[in-house]
Amino acid sequence: METLGRSFADAIGLLWGMDSALIETVVLTLQVTLVALAIALVIGIPIGAAIGLARHLPGRWLIVPLIYTGMGLPPVTVGLFTYLLLSNQGPLGSLGWLFTPAGMIVAQTIIALPLVVGLTMAAVQGVDPNLPVQMVSLGATRRQVASVTLLEARVGVTAAVVAAYGAIISEVGAVMLVGGNIEGETRVLTTAIVLETRRGNFALAMALGIILLSLAFLTNFAFHRLQVHQGVR
């Protein structure tokens, strides 16, 4: 308990005098997380909406369980898969993305995508099926029906964003394997925490942990305000 308290006090001191390496780690963490999240949203929301709206989709009996399985993918398995994909002998080895932020983004996108697809699908399915029919009757095109339904499901879609963001900003296994935790290049907050804990630098590890939690809290606070604005309290 004493170590924890002292580490916490030291962490506050380190945070106060944030050095450039620490700032670099924070910036890279945000870059990798937000880019992966953005890619997952751009791909995942339309797919989730399409599956949610197509209630008689052929193969749905298989697609939906696959998505649910994807939502629980172990990050370290995704890391291994991405590693093999991007390694020199892998099909995407020529890209040279292994041990780069680009490779970490690929891994985190794979982790976030099923969450975005699955939760968007569930949110869209939660909208009364009569609503799309009535929008068609008012003259909506298919795309307009999807867009109106997504807007109606916006609280659930926001939850999908929150879940995906939380999963990837706190994820360590995949980014460690694919990024390699190289200082100044692929070190992010989670991999730095693992490293500093192993080195016995508990104060620094704690400081990094506080920053990570703060980033998660601030973003989730913003998402929550958005949900409140959307009419949910």
Binding site: V136, S137, G139, A140, T141, V148
Partner: protein, 240 residues
């Protein structure tokens, strides 16, 4: 004059169960057609076919002289709209709900017509209220306003007064009459209130078990029904 709808040999089935079976039905342009009948008679399904929300299992539909083969075109679909028995309103303001059809069609939403219909249906004070907080009767009026604001050629009404008080029933009927007489809108109204059909419709049809048992000029339908089932229905007997 070209009929708005010409239906030939229409059957619509869900699996083995056929819910609509109508050998022929013409709806002339500018007519108010009333449809009455017991629950489960296929009236609402017929409206869905007329709104091109479903394609009949078999048979032909001609709309304004054009054969509808498979899915209707967007332009055709946009000639028709339905006010549903249980209207679904968006999680937006009343005014935004009334505007939605015009927005979907890319029509001007700032020409005052939204406000005009809000006023005409007594909804002006509720314009900024969240639509999901409305009573069933208010929601029904919003649904009517959002249908009328897009000025459809055909207005399909599925039990539009089920949730309305007598004053608003009168208001809706007056609006239906004026839309029909001033704009020439073709109107098909499904109602459980036979007196409403008598007040509004040019012709009235009785549907039972998916079939049109009798279709006649409204006065003849009520004063001299030709089919025993019609007479029984008007007496209030249970029809199966």
């Amino acid at each position: 004059m070209t009929a708005t709808y010409e239906l030939t040999d229409i059957r619509h089935c869900y699996g083995d169960r056929c819910v609509v079976d109508i050998p022929t039905l013409d709806v002339p342009k500018g007519e108010i057609l009333g449809l009455v009948g017991p629950s489960g008679a296929g009236k609402s399904t017929l409206l869905r076919l007329l709104d091109f929300l479903e394609t009949p299992t078999q048979g032909r539909i001609r709309f304004a002289g054009t054969e509808i083969d498979g899915d209707a075109s967007l332009a055709t679909r946009r000639d028709v709209t339905t006010v549903f028995q249980r209207p679904m309103l968006l999680k937006r303001s009343v005014a935004a709900n009334v505007r939605v059809g015009r927005k979907l069609r890319g029509l001007d939403t700032k020409n005052g017509c939204t406000e005009q219909w809000l006023d005409r249906l007594g909804l002006t004070d509720l314009a900024d209220a969240p639509a999901r907080t409305l009573s069933a009767g208010e929601a029904q009026r919003v649904a009517l306003a959002r249908a009328l604001v897009i000025e459809p050629s055909v207005l399909l009404l599925d039990e539009p007064t089920g949730n309305l008080d007598p004053y608003n029933v009168g208001l809706l009927e007056e609006i239906v009459r004026s839309e029909n007489s001033e704009r020439g809108t073709t109107i098909v109204i499904v109602t459980h209130d036979v007196f409403q059909a008598r007040r509004l419709a040019d012709r009235t049809g009785l549907m039972v078990a998916g079939r049109m048992v009798e279709l006649a000029d409204t006065e003849a339908f009520f004063s001299a029904p030709q089919q025993p089932q019609t007479a029984a229905f008007l007496r209030g007997d249970l029809l199966l």
